[in-house]
Amino acid sequence: MSNYLDALSVLLLTSAFMLMGNKRIKSYIKTFRLQSILIALLTGIMGINSLYNDGNVDILVVCMVVIGIKVVYIPFLLNKTYENVEYKVEKDFFLNIPILIIGCCFIVVFTYFSLSTTTGINTGTINMQVVNSISLILIGLFFMISRKKAIGQIVGFLVIENGIFVTALFATQGMPFIVDIGILMDILVAVIIMGIMVFRIDEKFGSTDINKIKDLRG
């Protein structure tokens, strides 16, 4: 089983890179959906394994919830928001795309270095798959920094949450059930609110460029 988990963790990392290299908003949402499918697969495999070994259905339920919320509902919300705003491609970047990708490479190398000397990292249930998932968190944060439009920021936030979820999965084979469901609900509500806000801001001020939102101070 751990082979499949390794492979999925590296595919998650690749999807993060794909996200970083994109300019079109629709692709952000599609890549996020792909990432969520991979996470669903991950929880599914872990859930079946735990069902087989311990008879617990916790993780399987979490898997269902993930599929319901992250694979189906949140992309649906984002798509609705996407149709109502007027920009479809992000054209303006602080640094261009190849430099961002090289930055993501540095993040992966850096994560590997900072975790490689942690004691007990390769024993027991924790192992180096955590490197990939922590890189996912950092890449999500980097994505939020590099994008100027609001939908990019929302997707970045969602990727950070994905990364935290996967790290918890790898590190402790699942968080307590209530905590998992609670977090997922929170995310759902946050996205709904953010989506509504984005729509309102766009309606009111004509643009959702974050730089311009700075002018609202004072």
């Binding site: 190398v109 590997y112 270095f113 490689s116």
Partner: protein
């Protein structure tokens, strides 16, 4: 001074003969100053004979492997100023490189110097030429730091005079000035290194033991030696003199400078850092590896943008020095981790690449000289179609271009393959940082190899192929025979080393064995007779001969089968496809600027190209009479590194001069008084 020349043992008699012959050539060329042709032929022939003695002597020395004690050549009564000679396998190897190149370049010069007849002082030129070779010879055989330093200085000065030989061009003078300043900055660092050496071991003997020097001092010595030798070798960022000095010198001198003078720095690095200081720390190797990677990539990147043939070749020297440093860096890292096999392998790769570079870079500069001789221009954009006018030169330059791009079956491929193998074996030893550095250097080597191939396709394709782009190229004629034979010998060596690598690696292996005591011939099938056997390194093997045989067989089979299928070969000559335009002229071909444009755009962060378009309008703005388009790359190192330093120095100097040089006699007398008092005080306290 009391001069005693001691008896030199029998093993060195050929070396002594070579030295004497160079001296004779120098004297002869001065005395025959009035008879140009005779002077030229005599001095070059004597140099050739001396060179062949050198080749024989060094090969014999390497195979017999006898190292003798220091033989003082000149002793004087000034303490510590003794000039010792000591020739061991490493020196013999570099003398082999030197001598091979000298034989070919001297043969070439017989033809090349003929365009100086009556216009310049050939006697002076040949005198400087012979003494230049002699000074490099002394650098490599010196056994004493004092002798080394004297020979090094002599080499720099004489090459300065050679660089500004055609001094009526303004840019040659500036190039010479820059060269002199840069090389003396490097020599100053060397001097500091030698002084640290003396202050701890109380002797200048290079072959002595460095055990008395503490760790910290050794680290400092490493840094100083690296800067000193790096300036001469052309390591980025100390390379800025290379692209100016090498084009300014006459082509045979450029061949010598780029072919062997740069390598004396590599000799110095190996001799001082590996043999004398005995690699202690891993970070030494890492520093060398990093600078090697940067030089390799930046050297070839800047070479792509040049359209002056010699400047392009000079930047390529920077790139190849980078590759040699990558090999050296890996070997130093391996030695510091007590990995004898990998250290020996990487050192073999570096030394073999040194030899190969001497051959093909020397050959390329000679080829550039031939082009300049025939067409009187160095600008690629004005050439074209030369392959029909100078077929033999074109074939030689093609061989050298293939060799430098590391294409099978020439020699560049063998040394790059060995470098790749040593990098490959390096991954897995050492910590994570070293692994990532190794894989990045593999990627950098691949990138620089591909870019070098692109650059030489540009050089060869646009100079030799297509239609002539100017009258210079239209009226070119084949060059004199001696020039072609000189280049031919070098090309023959390139092909030979490429096809039969085992023999030459045997030679290099013996050198490495004498240095570090580990040999990798155990993995080869050694011996002369196994010249056809493949080169095997830890299970991976290559055999260029087999590939060549496959090529020949396949081509013959293809010709046969196609003849069977398709009948006789009928060919119809027609013009190039011109889309029906019907007046295809040479202006419609790609120029060198155009060829390198995609790469200029891809790497525009590095180059920051600037462009200027001047349009002279005719009847209306849609029908201009002339358009001038100028594009240039920003010289990053000069602008951001050297200019600020120079400006700061200038400001500080002006301020100090303003305050110290008051012009009043009393002030100067007070300075003298204070200086004398300070010295007496120092005497009391120290």
């Amino acid at each position: 001074m009391l001069l005693i020349i001691q008896n030199i043992g029998e093993q060195n008699s050929l070396f002594l003969a070579a030295i004497l012959l160079y001296l004779i050539a120098a004297v002869a060329s001065l005395s025959l100053m009035k008879h140009h042709k005779l002077c030229n032929i005599v001095s070059n022939v004597i140099c050739m004979i001396a060179g062949s003695f050198g080749v024989v002597a060094s090969v014999v020395k390497i195979f017999t492997g006898y190292t003798q004690t220091n033989i003082p050549m000149l002793q004087s009564s000034i303490p510590l100023i003794t000039l010792d000679i000591k020739i061991d396998s490493l020196s013999a190897f570099f003398i082999l490189c030197l001598s091979v190149l000298v034989v070919c370049v001297s043969l070439y010069s017989i033809g090349y110097n003929s365009h100086y007849y009556g216009k310049r002082n050939l006697g002076l030129f040949n005198f400087l030429y012979s003494t230049f070779i002699l000074s490099m010879f002394f650098v490599m055989i010196s056994g004493n730091a004092v002798f080394f330093y004297i020979a090094w200085e002599a080499m720099s000065l004489i090459s300065y005079f050679l660089v500004i030989f055609e001094s009526e061009h303004e840019e040659n003078q500036r190039a010479g000035k820059l060269y002199l300043i840069m090389t003396h900055i490097g020599t100053a660092f060397l001097l500091i290194g030698f002084m640290i050496m003396f202050s701890y071991t109380k002797s200048f003997d290079i072959f002595g033991s460095s055990a008395a020097i503490p760790e910290v001092a050794k680290n400092f010595m490493f840094i100083f030696f690296f800067i000193g030798f790096g300036t001469k070798a052309g390591v980025v960022p100390l390379h800025i003199w290379l692209p100016y000095a090498h084009p300014a010198a006459p082509s045979n001198v450029s061949a010598l400078m780029s072919g062997i003078m740069i390598k004396t720095a590599i000799y110095g690095m190996i001799r001082f850092m590996l043999c004398y200081l005995q690699i202690q720390q891993t970070w030494w190797g890492v520093v060398i590896l990093c600078f090697g990677i940067v030089s390799a990539v930046l050297g070839v990147a800047y070479a792509l943008m040049e359209h002056n043939i010699k400047k392009l070749l000079a930047f390529h020297s920077v790139e190849n020095i980078g590759i040699i440093l990558i090999g050296l860096g890996v070997s130093f890292i391996a030695f510091s981790q007590n990995n004898e096999f990998l250290g020996g392998l990487a050192l073999i790769a570096a030394l073999l690449h040194t030899f190969n570079h001497t051959l093909f870079k020397g050959g390329l500069f000679l080829g550039a000289g031939s082009i300049q001789y025939a067409t009187h221009t160095k600008d690629i954009d004005k050439l074209g179609g030369l392959i029909k006018k100078m077929p033999i030169t074109a074939l030689m330059v093609l061989c050298f271009s293939l060799a430098i791009s590391a294409i099978v079956p020439f020699n560049g491929f063998v040394s790059e393959w060995l470098t790749y193998q040593s990098l490959f074996l390096n991954i897995g030893y050492g910590g994570g940082a070293l692994n990532i550095l190794s894989i990045l250097s593999i990627a950098a080597l691949g990138l620089s190899g591909a870019l070098a191939a692109a650059c030489f396709i540009k050089l060869f394709g646009i100079s030799f192929l297509g239609l002539p782009r100017s009258d210079h190229a239209l009226n070119a004629k084949e060059v004199p025979v001696t020039m072609n034979i000189g280049m031919g010998i070098l090309a023959g060596f390139c092909l030979a080393i490429g096809l039969f690598p085992a023999i030459f690696i045997n030679i290099v292996d013996k050198v490495v064995f004498s240095l570090v005591g580990s040999s990798i011939t155990g993995n080869f099938q050694g011996g002369f007779l196994n010249a056809f056997s493949p080169l095997v390194v830890s299970g991976n093997s290559i055999s260029p001969v087999d590939i060549l045989i496959v090529f020949v067989v396949v081509i013959f089979a293809a010709l046969l089968i196609i003849r069977l299928i398709g009948g006789k070969y009928i060919e119809r000559k027609y013009g190039t496809w011109d889309c029906g335009f019907e007046s295809l002229n040479s202006r419609m071909q790609y120029t060198a600027t155009g060829f390198s444009k995609p790469l200029r755009i891809v790497f525009s962060i590095l180059y920051r190209p600037g462009r200027k378009v001047e349009i002279e309008e005719g009847v209306s703005s849609y029908f201009p009479t002339s358009i001038k388009y100028k594009v240039w790359t920003e010289p990053i190192f000069e602008k951001y590194f050297y200019n600020p330093v120079l400006n700061m120095i200038r400001k500080i100097s002006l301020k100090i001069i303003g305050s110290v040089q008051t012009g009043s006699v009393h002030a100067y007398l007070i300075y003298i008084f204070i200086a004398v008092l300070a010295l007496m005080l120092y005497n009391r306290l120290a």
